[in-house]
């Protein structure tokens, strides 16, 4: 499993694929954090999620952060955060 994960991570790096958030579409529900943390740690813990949604003012702008540790949900055709996002704000993209 670990091997497959690192293979996937390597492949993603080679293809320069990653997850990104369109903050204009994002509503700030943080479902992506929940499903990511469940995948990575087996628990609901936004701090162990590789994707972070930050909205200091509940009515204000949203910012996002993709951290180290994202394996694009190795073995899945669509990462969980992309699949579960209710506004299609999270998407796969080529990273610089």
């Amino acid at each position: 499993m670990k091997e497959r994960k690192s293979d996937m991570e390597r492949a993603c790096k080679e293809m320069r694929l990653g997850v990104a958030v369109d903050v204009e579409k994002c509503n700030g529900c943080r479902t992506c954090e929940l499903v990511c943390s469940l995948h990575l740690s087996g628990m609901f813990d936004p701090y162990s999620s590789a994707i972070r949604i930050v909205r200091p003012d509940v009515h204000g702008p949203i910012s996002s952060e993709i951290r180290d540790g994202c394996d694009l949900c190795s073995g899945l055709s669509i990462p969980y955060c992309v699949e579960f996002c209710p506004t299609d704000a999270v998407f796969l993209t080529r990273v610089p």
Binding site: N27, G28, C29, R30, T31, L34, V35, S37, L38, H39, S41, G42, M43, F44, D45, P46, Y47, S48, V54, P56, D57, V58, H59, Y80, E83, F84, P86, T87
Partner: protein, 646 residues
């Protein structure tokens, strides 16, 4: 043993002696959480003779085992206490982000008792609770308090629950505001916190929430999200949001309430001027959401206040259009928005205020209030200046506001008993509902609601039922087609939805994702699956509904013991039996006492309550394992036991 679903701790906080005791959640698991846990704690811990504003009353702020998990719309919080308006059971429920944050800070629930010597707030961070001085916060509006506490805690991601000036001044229409715009409004809960001199709670958590079977939970959550999406709820509510239920409704049949329920139909041009789309298109800024919710029914609105300053606010709902619109005969959308936003900032319940102000307008019109009693305000229907001034007076308990702050029923008792005839309330709580003469499943659910009056218990929409399969309909109690439903079927339906809604409120998820709003959304089996995977407890939907029935029965017993409620408490105000709707699609609609008595008989039969007194029987309590509650009622002489009757 690790706590699955729950995080494991209930904090008992005594503001009188500043003591804090942490208790494991384990002994309370049978109460599920949220509203269920609160019902048990309130019945066991609040003395019958306790005044709602006394140190003996407790406030239970509780999450559920699904709160903060991937279960859809898992951001709900229950806030429960002895009711300031009815002296019976009080429970409010609110979304936003506070509840998951509280769990991640290590607490499933807070139980607050006592009265602080001086105003305080609670600061909660990763298992630690501090009682801090609220110097500098007392007197602030709710939005300002939210900002000040975030600045003070140097953490802009902290979540704040607070009261406004209304709660501080013990206004019985006061609410609690979460995340600057979400209100928990029933039961004068803001005034209860004000009486405890508790201004706010600020919470920050970085702990994790575990579930028993992560893979199964993920799979069930996926199915639940897909089911909600397929149901049409998302498409409908993301468009209309919380304004979806505004009269005349999508089908043009919903009844208004006009000028303090004098009629159920409003002038066509006024209806057009206050149509939900006027607000959505003309004033809507963007959709907002609660934690982990696919629906995003909330919205940010823009309005101009009396000085012409542009302002933003969240939390605007269909009932706001009613209570600051047709209820006071105002068709100015700007006033509806401004009054609603002001209520949020002052920490006042919009519906209760609209109801109190409508009573005042009518009392003035009928010569029961003089100009001098109204401080010279022009008390003609819909007057913008009077409405805004009265809201400030209510929050400060000044002038006429001191009278209106207690709600229309108590205000009428203090002013002139003749005005009780147009004090629109049930069990002492302001009536905030449309469709009371046209939709019997709705009206019955509102009238028998344990928290006074309100549609968020057993009131259900008959039009949802065709969305259920015939088997599902039978499980809800409907063996007939909905359009053929008689009074007993309606009673069964209300009783079933009461149990279901109690369960939903106990789990810590939002009813907008469930059968309560749409028969194709999540039902008991879906929720039971998520509960099992979260907690590891092998329990079927039927057993969870039985636990919902226990909550309902405890709240009912609380009302009987604390407020002496019985059958007479389950009647809507007399005006609804006297004035038929004058014209339009609902012309002639009127409640009749015979019909209402038949509805109550059907409902009491379904619940196994006594038909004559409306009290509980030994059978209904033993059915759900509440023998101890039966003994308490028996001791108070308020239990009916047919086997003992001659």
């Amino acid at each position: 043993m690790p706590a699955y679903g729950w995080v494991g701790n209930v904090a008992w906080i005594d503001l009188s002696d500043r003591s804090i005791r942490i208790e494991p959640i384990d002994k309370y698991r049978e109460w599920i959480g949220g509203r269920g846990l609160a019902s048990h704690l309130l019945l066991e811990n609040v003395p019958v003779e306790a005044d709602p504003f006394s140190a003996e009353n407790i406030v239970v702020i509780s999450t559920g085992p699904l709160t903060g998990t991937l279960s859809p719309a898992s951001g709900r919080l229950s806030i429960s206490s002895k009711n300031a308006l009815t002296h019976g059971y009080g429970s409010a429920n609110v979304g936003g982000y506070f509840a998951p944050e509280l769990k991640r800070a290590g607490f499933d629930a807070l139980v607050i008792r006592g009265v602080a010597k001086a105003p305080v707030y609670l600061s909660i961070h990763d298992g630690k609770i501090e009682i801090c001085s609220a110097d500098g916060l007392w007197g602030l509006t709710t939005s300002r308090c939210d900002e000040a506490l975030k600045e003070q805690s140097r953490n802009m991601e902290a979540r704040v629950l607070c009261i406004g000036p209304g709660g501080e001044n013990l206004c019985k229409l006061a609410n609690v505001i979460v995340d600057k715009g979400r209100s928990a409004s029933y039961g004068g809960i803001g005034a209860i916190l004000g009486a405890k001199r508790l201004k706010a709670i600020v919470v920050r958590g970085s702990m994790s929430i575990r579930v028993h079977s992560p893979d199964e939970f993920l799979s069930l959550a996926r199915e639940a999200f897909e089911k909600i999406d397929r149901s049409g709820v998302v498409a409908h509510l993301k468009t209309y949001g919380l304004l979806a239920a505004s009269p005349p409704g999508i089908d043009g049949r919903a009844a208004h309430v006009v000028r303090n329920y004098k009629d159920g139909v409003w002038d066509g041009d006024k209806t057009v001027k206050t149509n939900p789309l006027v607000f959505i298109v003309g004033h809507g800024v963007k959709n907002l959401t609660c934690y982990n919710c696919p629906i995003r029914c909330s919205r940010l609105f823009r309005y101009a206040d009396e000085d012409g300053t542009n302002k933003l606010f969240e939390g605007f709902q269909a009932n706001h259009i009613t209570n600051f619109g047709s209820m006071i005969d105002n068709d100015d959308p700007e006033l509806i928005l401004e009054a609603s936003a002001l209520c949020n900032d002052l920490g006042l319940d919009v519906d209760g205020c609209g109801c109190s102000i409508a009573w005042a307008f009518e009392s003035f019109e009928r010569g029961k209030l003089s100009s001098s009693q109204c401080d010279g305000l022009k008390m003609n229907w819909g007057n913008r200046g009077a409405v805004i001034a009265l809201l400030h007076q209510i929050a400060q308990r000044k002038g006429l506001g001191d009278l209106l702050a207690d709600g229309p029923r108590e205000a009428a008792g203090r002013l002139d008993r003749e005005t009780i005839g147009w004090a629109m309330s049930i069990k002492g709580a302001p009536l905030r509902e449309i469709n009371m003469q046209t939709n019997m499943s709705w009206a019955l659910g509102v009238a028998v609601s344990t928290r006074g009056s309100g549609h968020l218990n057993g009131a259900f929409r008959m039009e949802n039922l065709p969305e259920l399969s015939s088997e599902e309909r039978k499980s809800v109690g409907f063996h007939t087609r909905p359009d053929e439903a008689g009074t007993s079927a309606i009673g069964l339906g209300v009783a079933w939805y009461e149990d279901f809604k109690s369960l939903v409120d106990s789990l810590g998820v939002c009813y907008f994702t469930t059968w309560w709003i749409n028969g194709k959304a999540l039902g008991p089996s879906d929720l039971a699956g998520l509960y099992r995977a979260a907690t590891g407890e092998c329990v079927e939907a039927r057993e969870l509904l039985r636990r919902g029935a226990r909550v309902q029965n405890i709240e009912k017993a609380f009302n009987t013991l604390h407020a002496g409620m019985g059958r007479e408490s389950d009647f809507p105000p007399s005006r609804l039996f006297e004035k038929p709707i004058s014209r339009g699609v609902n012309m002639g609609a009127l409640l009749t006492r015979d019909r209402w008595n038949a509805l109550l008989d059907g409902y009491y039969t379904a619940r196994k309550y006594d038909l004559r007194s409306g009290w509980q029987t030994r059978e209904c309590l033993t059915d759900c394992g509440l023998e101890a509650v039966a003994r308490r009622l028996e001791g108070a002489g308020r239990l009916i036991d047919p086997s003992h009757e001659s």
